[in-house]
Symmetry: C2
Subunit: 100 residues, 2 copies
């Protein structure tokens, strides 16, 4: 459970995918491929992106819905809440610990 979440976040490309879905949720695999290669100069096979999406889905960060031959991918940031719940982040207003 938590394993899947952190493993999903561990990869750079997957984080870029999350960025893209944050920008516009509900994209198809091909759309995501296109945007990655355009905006980030990432030349990657479709399979690679597909596998990344599977990992993100296993972590609950991405939810999918099928419509005909299209599969749309939606972002779900809810699992991220567990992180700051596990290790409470001190309020920025009282932050003096890392002003270096």
């Amino acid at each position: 459970m938590a394993d899947d979440l952190f493993k999903a976040l561990a990869d750079h490309t997957r984080r870029l995918i999350l960025d893209e879905l944050t920008d516009t949720s509900g994209q198809t695999l091909f759309e995501i491929c296109a945007r990655l290669s355009m905006k980030h100069r990432l030349s990657m096979s479709r399979q690679a992106v597909s596998q990344h999406l599977a990992v993100l889905e296993a972590a609950g960060l991405v939810e999918t819905r099928r419509e005909g031959r299209y599969k749309f991918h939606d972002l779900n940031t809810a699992p991220l809440r567990e992180i700051t719940r596990r290790w409470p982040v001190s309020d920025p207003s009282e932050a003096q610990e890392s002003t270096s």
Copy 2:
């Protein structure tokens, strides 16, 4: 920078170390080793834990201070704030997207 953070969080043992430091900050390497093997039945070499601490320190999640031959490790959760800043987490009160 972000790479180091997520890489640090990716490992199960490192997350346990963060848990221990959340419980009691300012422990030495040997104390952390002892607690991991006691509370979590983790039999691991001292070096392994030491290397984990180095990774956590590179991520800014752990800060260290030397006193004589002791080196104390303190938790710093500030870097975690970047996560929910990058992918804003919807407020739980308006959460209807993942009640499944």
